[in-house]
């Protein structure tokens, strides 16, 4: 990553290079609780912790985070579709880069990932004031995962949203139906292969936003 800011940030980045014992301890505790189902973790010192678990131990991981790490606050739950947009640049703000970038299937974010769809849940400890992001891969042929309602009842609506937007099925969810969109709506809008029709019918006027000043070199 490029260092872009002034000197103060440089100092902060240096202190950030220290290992983050508290987050290491959290990851180790989760690894103990989950055994082989703990796949990978990623720590940005003094900032954040990502953990990837197997789909089968999704509920176990959330329960362990709540009971052992004290993450009693349910922050949010959602999913990521890692498919590069099949609509290419016209879905973007068509700017200084006319060549479409070659899609790199290995770019799966922190703590890795092997499949197109990934579940993400964020929990937070109001005593340690630290958060934790748990991820789980969903195999392409079977987009389903156990519901977390038994652990955090607040996941109910978030799971309905993920079901509607990504088409992920939550086993054990009592009330899986549309939350935002009308009942007869077809498709899963937040999937990358769901076209944003406004961009298909009309060029995006916001392109001028990144136009260069006269005489300015492109960066």
């Amino acid at each position: 990553m490029t260092q872009l800011s002034s000197t103060e940030t440089g100092a902060a980045a240096e202190t950030g290079a220290q290992p983050d014992e508290h987050r290491e301890a959290w990851a180790a505790q989760l690894a103990d609780a989950l055994g082989d189902d703990f796949v990978e973790h990623h720590i940005i010192p003094e900032s954040d912790l990502w953990v990837r678990v197997n789909r089968g131990s999704w509920v176990v991981a959330a329960t362990a985070a709540r009971d052992q790490l004290g993450c009693v606050f349910f922050d949010w739950l959602s999913a990521i579709d890692w498919l590069p947009s099949p609509y290419g640049r016209d879905m973007d703000a068509q700017e200084d880069n006319p060549q479409p970038k070659a899609a790199d299937p290995t770019e799966q974010g922190y703590a890795g990932g092997e499949t197109r769809f990934q579940m993400v849940v964020r929990l937070y400890s109001i005593t340690d004031h630290m958060g934790l992001t748990i991820k789980a891969d969903l195999p392409d042929g079977d987009l389903s995962i156990d519901t977390l309602i038994g652990v955090f009842p607040g996941t109910n609506w978030h799971e309905r949203e993920a079901w509607e937007m990504f088409g992920i099925h939550f086993s054990g969810h009592p009330d899986l139906r549309h939350i935002y969109l009308p009942g007869e709506f077809q498709g899963n809008p937040l999937r990358k292969d769901f076209p944003l029709l406004a961009r298909r019918v009309k060029p995006w006027p916001g392109i001028v936003d990144v136009e260069l000043f006269p005489g300015e070199e492109g960066s």
Binding site: D48, I80, Y110, I126, L181, P189
Partner: protein
Amino acid sequence: MTAVGNAGNITDRNGGSLADQRQQLAYVATQAADARLNVEIETEGMTLNIGPQHPATHGTLRLVARLDGEQVVEAEPIMGYMHRGYEKLAEVRTYPQVTTLINRIDWLGSFANEVPFILAAEKLMEVEAPPRAQWIRTVLFELSRIANITLFLGDMAVQLGALTPVFMAFRDREFVLNQIEAVTGGRFHPNFDRIGGVKDDLPKGWIDDTKQAMQKIRDFCDEFEDLVLGNEIFQSRSRGIGIVPPAIGLSYGLSGANIRASGVDWDLRRDGREALVYDQLDWKVWTHPDGDSFARYWVRLQETREATHMVDQLLDGLPSGPIMAKVPRIIKVPAGEAYAATENPLGEMGYYIVSKGDLVPFRVKIRSASFSNISITPWLLRGVYVPDIITILASLYFILGDIDR
């Protein structure tokens, strides 16, 4: 209501906390109402449809309640009338363009919506705004809070039948909006925060004007302490109504004043690690042990007054210097993931940004406070009486744009 009569001894205030007793009472009443419905002895259930356009709704929240007499057996909010798909739209806009959209999530405290997004992007870019920009950000953040919550203070009163407070709220809120407009050019949608700093410096004479406005808001708070909190009708309609036990609130993702009113001492302004300057101010986090509708109003009133003191301190300590860090004119955010959350007027608001190193974010997950805050209503409304629905919804305080995004 026989159910309540039978459960009357539970409201005895000698043992156990008020919250426990209320919860138990609500539970017993629900069970009784269910039983009656099932055997169809007394009444058949009735379905009451409140909204999407009804005088008692906020925006377009629709509530479908199954009633037994005056009691709610089951209530369910139905959202989506204002869903605008910001998460999808953000994927086709450059980072600076996204702030224009997200201004419109919580439209009463718009500037506060921009801050966590910018902070998350700055985290990915490893940029930090210069001190003066951070102070200006914090000032505007607190002004947004005041502009937002003063309206709540009037609005909840009007929902409980007192018409005057809402006019006073609109009147005094205007002073704050004027100050926001003087800096940003926008009353409702400032679009002022930038990656690496803020758009402009403060105009001349603004500091004195703002201090006067803060004094007016403090007077407003003092007046409301008498006028609303001291009002017997308000108290009898909000005390003990809609009690949220802290553990349940947290598991539903309640945040902000809603959870502090249940006695949870947690405020991201103090406990978060984002680059705002709250650690350099002398202030306190207000909590209330009761967890009822009255407590939620009380906490918000105290927070508004606290915010005016914070703004005064911020204006006194405003450092000089640049308002923008060195950032390229065309902003490309390095690949990575970051989550930044701040204590917005409605509760915790955060953005989870996934970047692949492009001009546009790959995925933006918007964690808006009202969506989680209102998700507790099906649980909370079970067993309450119809007029209390209004009290509970008003005290949980949501903005429709913040639910539907």
